[in-house]
């Protein structure tokens, strides 16, 4: 070691000793530095969600320093000429001002909006990975529930965020939200009055309420849940795919320090880079084009952010069923698509681990992941359920197909009212047979592989494990091991 190296080493030791004398955390720090992350690209989806959240918090702090949640109507005299002289709320005016007059304000707003879309998208993809690899099984079922809860909060948070702007699009979204609240049987109308502090569009306390929900209550709840989510992962250690040397009782991967820390920091920076590049270069939610909201105005062909699309689709697809007894409306129509549908979707996802346990009788602990093909029924049910939600999501854009391709809107709705039940069943059978044939041939689903399975051995040599001709036995997941009596059952 040279002189500089020795000096740096002494300084580092001094810093560590300083910390130890006060905190005494050496054991924990060593464990954290050695913490093992199994390598698989699909494990990064959750990290992308986490890093989008960090970008959201950072850009959100900037935005909240400019936003005023005011509902008083003012006349616009700002720098965006096409809206000059228009009557608008103070809230909308401050967001216009942020977009046109604050240096880097529009960049921050657009990055924030893109990051919200990426945040929810990466949570949904992460959820798909968790489902199709069976990662939600014991001991991770509790963490899966926390993840589902975070997805619900993330959707609410996104909706609250773009509703704050009080442009025409966000006002329409709030009108629908108000109607869905009103549609809850018996208590809905009173609930709507409590949230909006009176009839829509609400009193002057509504926007401040929405703001505090968006900038404090929901982000704080998400931050707490993220912390619990990560702490539980650390306690249980990551799940892993089966592979050479990978067992139920171990975890094989890259230790946190230094390689994984650098790669993960790289992912954080890459997520931020993509968000800032698209936030700077690709326009999103040009609020000045929608104009200010007034209850008597609406925008034709408007589409919400993608994560609200499934609810719009459900509201559009639902027939005009509104059962009433005498003069009393039992279930107002928006309840079906706006409240019952998301409740069913989340209800099924929450119930799934126990449904599967009941049918398979498998109460064991699982730390090795499944390949989707190895559980054809689960994968087929998941694909069918996902397609059901995706079809309803796609129905939310039937009007776009009508305007662009002139396919009759009515005909599309009538078609999908049946198709939404038939197509998932077809997808169930296709997926099941695809899984079975993949499991039999053991080919890669996208590229039936050609070549050899190799491993770099010690000394840089290459060790051939198998050729495509003599396909290796799939690394079958071994029977889960209950290490201690009692671990195997509930």
């Amino acid at each position: 070691m040279n002189l500089v190296g020795r000096m740096l080493h002494r300084r580092l030791v001094r810093v560590v000793r300083w910390n130890e004398q006060r905190v005494g955390a050496a054991k924990g720090i060593k464990a954290a530095l050695r913490y093992v992350f199994p390598d698989h690209w699909s494990f990064l989806l959750g990290e992308i969600a986490l890093y989008s959240f960090i970008v959201l918090v950072g850009t959100g702090i900037f935005l909240t320093l400019y936003y005023i949640p005011g509902d008083s109507q003012v006349i616009y005299h700002g720098s965006y000429a096409p809206l000059a002289g228009q009557k608008m709320s103070d809230a909308y005016r401050t967001v216009l001002n942020l977009s046109f007059n604050v240096p880097a304000g529009l960049l921050m707003r657009q990055v924030h909006h893109w990051a919200a879309d990426v945040f929810v998208a990466s949570i949904v993809l992460h959820l798909c990975r968790i489902f199709f690899t069976g990662a939600y099984r014991k001991p991770r079922d509790l963490n899966y529930f926390i993840g589902l809860l975070m997805l619900m909060l993330a959707i609410l948070e996104g909706f609250a965020g773009y509703s704050l702007v009080d442009d025409l699009l966000s006002g329409m979204g709030l009108a629908i939200a108000y109607s869905v609240a009103f549609s809850i049987p018996f208590i809905g109308a009173q609930l709507g009055y409590l949230v909006w502090d009176g009839p829509f569009p609400g009193s002057s306390s509504f926007l401040p309420r929405l703001e505090i929900v968006h900038v404090l209550l929901l982000p704080a709840a998400l931050a707490v849940l993220i912390t619990i989510h990560l702490a539980m992962i650390m306690r249980q250690h990551h799940s892993q795919f089966p592979g050479p040397g990978r067992r139920e009782r171990n975890v094989v991967g890259t230790p946190m320090w230094p390689a994984y820390a650098l790669r993960s920091l790289g992912l954080l920076l890459a997520v931020a880079a993509v968000l800032f590049l698209i936030g700077g270069l690709i326009q999103i939610n040009p609020i000045w084009q929608w104009g200010p909201y007034h209850p008597y105005l609406s925008e034709n062909g408007a589409q919400p952010d993608w994560y609200i699309g499934w609810l719009i689709g459900a509201l559009r697809l639902m027939p005009n069923l509104e059962p009433a007894i005498g003069n009393h409306t039992i279930i107002p129509n928006p309840f079906w698509g706006g409240a019952l549908f998301p409740l069913v979707v989340f209800g099924v996802m929450f119930a799934w681990p126990s449904i599967e346990r009941r049918f398979t009788g498998d109460h064991r602990r699982h730390d090795l992941l499944d390949r989707p093909r190895d559980h054809p029924i689960r994968t087929a049910i998941g694909a069918a359920f996902l397609s059901w939600v995706v079809i309803i999501f796609a129905v939310g854009s039937t009007d776009r197909l009508f305007f662009r391709l002139n396919i009759s809107y009515d005909a599309q709705i009538h078609f999908w009212r049946i198709g939404v039940w038939v197509l998932p069943i077809v997808i169930f059978f296709i997926t099941r047979s695809a899984c079975r044939s993949l499991a039999a041939s053991d080919a890669h689903p996208l590229r039936a592989w050609q070549g050899s399975v190799v491993r770099r051995g010690a000394g840089g040599g290459v060790e051939i494990l198998a050729h495509s001709a003599d396909v290796v036995e799939a690394p079958v997941s071994e029977a889960p091991v209950g290490t201690v009596p009692g671990e195997e059952s509930d």
Partner: protein, 331 residues
């Protein structure tokens, strides 16, 4: 990005050519393992180190460029490119460093049990020990439960302060005699309303931000007028007014179709752009397509001596979304 990918590929190749010094670290081998996954290689890749340093320095240049663009009042695109490229290059530096500069290690860590039977027993025992010597358990538990319910109820009660008690319906400013004006406050003359267009009307002198304020006004040719008998007098000179708020989900209705070519056109209709509920203006707002559970509420109109449009009475149905008591007894 392309350059980065090329660099990465180059590094991989270099990696393959030169045998690397290896320190195999074998420890804690699982007894039943046929393959030992533990592996540690120390790279000593000077090329990668140079690349990382270069990436960091170019990233720094973009970082300073961001500040420069900001000072020079650069636009959103330039700001985004500067900070985005800085972050992308930092990301590249981290990934290259993580893959080619620092030691590469695969480590197998044993995964301990979560449930240890004696420990679980011990926790349960400790909790139970805290109740040692208590004889009237049921009484205490019952009283505690009642107090708990009372506490939660008391804590939840102020929620009722969040909003007013629900009144009968959505009030609207419309009653007999209120003049129809446009969004600039100009009153509508009956002669302003032409066949084939639709007009948005607001109540004169009232708050336009109320849900029930906005009206749709159209004039229909006589053959399309098929109002229920009770509403015969509601459409003077074929001019009709409806609430602009869709009774499905509260959006403003802003699509109107009127037959332009008789042999193929269907009848006149209002459509809400949110969920495409479609209503027939000639038939008292009857729903002809879409999810709405009720007809569009109609407002009776009259024309005063000077030819201005005025409401001939209030709405007889509730305006806005449906709820428990939305179908009040027709007055």
């Amino acid at each position: 990005m392309v350059a980065l990918l090329a660099a990465l590929r180059l590094l991989r190749r270099a990696d393959r050519r030169t045998p690397l010094p290896v320190e195999a670290e074998r420890e804690r081998e699982p007894a039943d393992a046929d393959v030992d996954p533990n592996e540690r290689t120390v790279p000593g890749n000077r090329r990668a180190e140079t690349l990382v340093a270069a990436l960091l320095l170019i990233a720094a240049a973009f970082g300073f460029a961001f500040t420069a663009v900001y000072i020079l009042h650069g636009n959103t695109q330039l700001l985004g490119i500067a900070i985005g490229c800085m972050l992308a290059l930092l990301a590249a530096a981290c990934v290259v460093a993580g893959k080619f500069v620092v030691p590469q290690e695969t480590h197998a860590e044993p995964r301990g049990p979560l449930l240890i039977e004696e420990q679980a027993e011990g926790v349960a025992q400790m909790i139970e020990d805290g109740g040692e010597g208590i004889s009237r358990r049921a009484l205490l538990a019952g009283a505690g439960g009642v107090a708990g319910v009372a506490l939660v109820t008391a804590a939840a009660t102020p929620v009722a302060s969040l909003g007013p008690r629900l009144r009968g319906s959505h009030d609207t400013p419309w009653h007999r005699g209120v003049r129809l004006v446009d969004d600039a406050g100009r009153p509508y003359l009956a002669s302003d309303v032409e066949i084939g267009s639709f007009y948005t009307a607001l109540p004169e002198g009232s708050d336009a931000e109320e849900l029930g304020a906005g009206l749709l006004v159209v004039r229909l040719a006589g053959k399309y007028l098929q109002l229920p008998p009770a509403r015969r007098g509601w459409a003077p000179r074929g001019i009709l007014a409806y609430s602009k708020i869709c009774p499905h989900a509260g959006c403003a209705i802003s699509l109107y179709r009127y037959p332009t070519y008789q042999p193929t056109s269907v009848g006149p209709a209002f459509t809400c752009p949110c969920h495409y509920s479609t209503f027939s203006p000639g038939e008292g707002g009857r729903l002809i397509f879409g999810p709405a559970g009720r007809a569009l509420p109609q407002l009776p109109l009259m024309i005063d001596d000077q030819g201005y449009l005025r409401a001939a009475g209030p709405f007889t149905e509730d305006v806005g979304p449906s709820w428990w008591n939305v179908r009040k007894a027709e007055s």
